[in-house]
C-alpha cells in the first residue's frame, strides 16, 4: 500500500471549474506556476485543500472570463500572476466573511487585529483595487515613514498623501460594508 502523502494540489488544476466554466490556457499556465503558493496560502486560511482547489479553479475561470470579455483588459493587467493571486485572495476573503466558522485556530491566532478578519479583508481589498502610487504610499506608511516623508517622494503635501490613502481605505471599507 502506498503510504506517501501527496502535496496539496499536486494532481494539477482542472481546466474547467465546478460550474463548467473553462479556464484560458494562459491563465491555467500561470495558475500552475502559482499552484504551490496558492495552496499554501489557501490552506493556512481555510484549512481545507478541497475548498482551496475549488476556489483556485473558480479564480482561474473568473480571470479567463475577464480576459475574454474585455480583450483590452489583458494589456491593462500588467502582472497576470499577481492579478490571479489577488482574485484568489478576494474569493477566500469572501468565503471567510460568509462563513466565519471556517476559520480555524491558526487563522484566529494569526489575525489578531480587532480579533476579526476586518483588517485582513480591508488590506487585501485595498491592495487589490488601488493604483500603484497609492499602494506604494501604503507600503511606505506600513514601514514607518511619516506622511511628510511620503509626500516628498510623490511631490505632494503630507496632507494630500494622507488624504489619498485614507480616502482609498474609506472607499474599500464602505464597499465591504464596514462602518466608519
Amino acid at each position: 500500500m502506498d503510504m506517501t502523502t501527496r502535496e496539496p494540489g499536486s494532481e494539477g488544476i482542472n481546466p474547467v471549474d465546478r460550474l463548467g466554466r473553462k479556464i484560458n490556457p494562459e491563465v491555467l499556465r500561470v495558475a500552475e506556476q502559482l499552484r504551490k503558493r496558492l495552496f499554501s496560502y489557501g490552506e493556512k486560511m481555510l484549512g481545507d485543500a478541497a475548498v482551496v482547489a475549488n476556489l483556485l479553479e473558480e479564480s482561474g475561470a473568473a480571470v479567463s472570463r475577464i480576459l475574454q470579455r474585455n480583450p483590452e483588459t489583458s494589456t491593462a493587467i500588467r502582472d497576470l500572476q499577481a492579478y490571479l493571486f489577488r482574485v484568489f485572495i478576494r474569493k477566500i476573503n469572501r468565503l471567510l466573511r460568509q462563513q466565519p466558522q471556517l476559520s480555524n485556530w491558526e487563522v484566529a491566532s494569526f489575525i489578531d487585529y480587532r480579533e476579526s478578519m476586518e483588517g485582513k479583508v480591508v488590506l487585501d481589498e485595498f491592495l487589490g483595487n488601488c493604483d500603484p502610487v497609492t499602494r506604494q504610499m501604503l507600503y511606505r506608511r506600513i514601514e514607518g515613514f511619516s506622511w511628510k516623508e511620503i509626500g516628498k517622494f510623490y511631490r505632494v503635501s503630507a496632507h494630500a498623501a494622507e488624504a489619498r490613502c485614507s480616502q482609498a481605505v474609506q472607499r474599500v471599507r464602505r464597499k465591504l460594508g464596514y462602518r466608519d
Binding site: 500572476q81 499577481a82 489577488r86 488590506l123 507600503y139 511606505r140 506608511r141 515613514f145
Partner: protein, 227 residues
C-alpha cells in the same frame, strides 16, 4: 474610530501579513534586486507593476521593506548631518544665532515681562468698628484714608470677631468694585487678616469696605486717596 493608516496595530498587522503570508521559495515571477532599488529611489519613474507583485510575494516584500528601512535611516541621518554641517561650516552663523537668542532672552526678561508691582504694607484698624445690625449701617463714624497704590493690606477686625474665612470687598455705592477672600487669625490678641489689593485702577473717592463671614457682616467707610 481611529484611521487604520494611523493605527499602530493595523500597521503592525499589515507589516507581518505582507512579510509572512505569501511565501515564494522558488521565487516565481520575482523581479531582480535592481528593479526594487529603482522603485525605492525614484518611485514615480519605476515599473509600477512591481507594486502588485509585492502585494503577494513575501520574500520580495521583505527585501523591499529592508531597502525602505535603509532609505529611511539615510534620509533622517542626512537631515541631522545637514544641521550639524550648517553649524560646523559656518561658525559665524552659530555666533549670530547665539547672539540673537541672548538678545531675545534679554528682551523677554526686561521688556516683555510686565513689571511686578511693589506692595507696600498698610494697616487698616477696624477694632473700633462694630458689626452691622439691621439695614442702618454705621456710616457716620470716622473715615479711614487709604492710598491709591498696591497694598499689602492688614485689616484688624473689630473686637469680638471670629477667626475664619472672610470675604473682603469694596463697594462704591453702585456695586462691588473689588473683592478678595482671606483667612482671619488671632495675632497679638487681635483678629486680623491680610490681603493684597492693587487699588491703582480704582478712582479716588469714598467707598465702603465690607467684611463678611457667614452671618457676620462688618461695614466701614473708607476714602481712597491719591498717593
Amino acid at each position: 474610530m481611529k484611521q487604520p493608516l494611523n493605527d499602530e496595530r493595523f500597521l503592525q498587522f499589515a507589516r507581518s501579513y505582507l512579510r509572512e503570508s505569501f511565501p515564494n521559495p522558488e521565487r516565481v515571477g520575482c523581479p531582480p534586486d535592481r528593479e526594487l532599488q529603482t522603485l525605492i529611489e525614484s518611485p514615480l519613474k519605476a515599473n509600477s507593476s512591481l507594486t502588485e507583485h509585492l502585494s503577494c510575494c513575501s520574500p520580495c516584500y521583505s527585501r523591499y521593506a529592508a531597502l525602505l528601512e535603509a532609505q529611511r535611516i539615510r534620509l533622517r541621518r542626512k537631515a541631522f548631518d545637514r544641521l550639524v554641517a550648517f553649524y560646523r561650516q559656518t561658525p559665524a552663523r552659530l555666533a549670530w544665532v547665539s547672539g540673537a537668542l541672548v538678545l531675545l532672552s534679554i528682551f523677554w526678561i526686561f521688556i516683555w515681562r510686565a513689571p511686578q508691582p511693589a506692595y507696600s504694607a498698610f494697616t487698616l484698624d477696624l477694632t473700633a468698628a462694630s458689626e452691622t445690625r439691621g439695614a442702618n449701617s454705621n456710616s457716620s463714624g470716622p473715615v479711614a484714608r487709604i492710598p491709591k497704590r498696591p497694598l499689602q493690606l492688614k485689616i484688624q477686625l473689630p473686637l469680638g470677631s471670629k477667626e475664619g474665612l472672610y470675604l473682603v470687598s469694596l463697594d462704591a455705592g453702585k456695586g462691588v468694585v473689588w473683592s478678595h477672600e482671606a483667612e482671619a487669625r488671632l495675632v497679638d490678641h487681635v483678629i486680623a487678616l491680610e490681603v493684597r489689593a492693587d487699588l491703582r485702577s480704582l478712582p479716588a473717592g469714598r467707598y465702603e469696605i465690607l467684611l463678611q463671614s457667614g452671618f457676620e457682616k462688618i461695614e466701614y467707610p473708607i476714602q481712597i486717596t491719591r498717593p
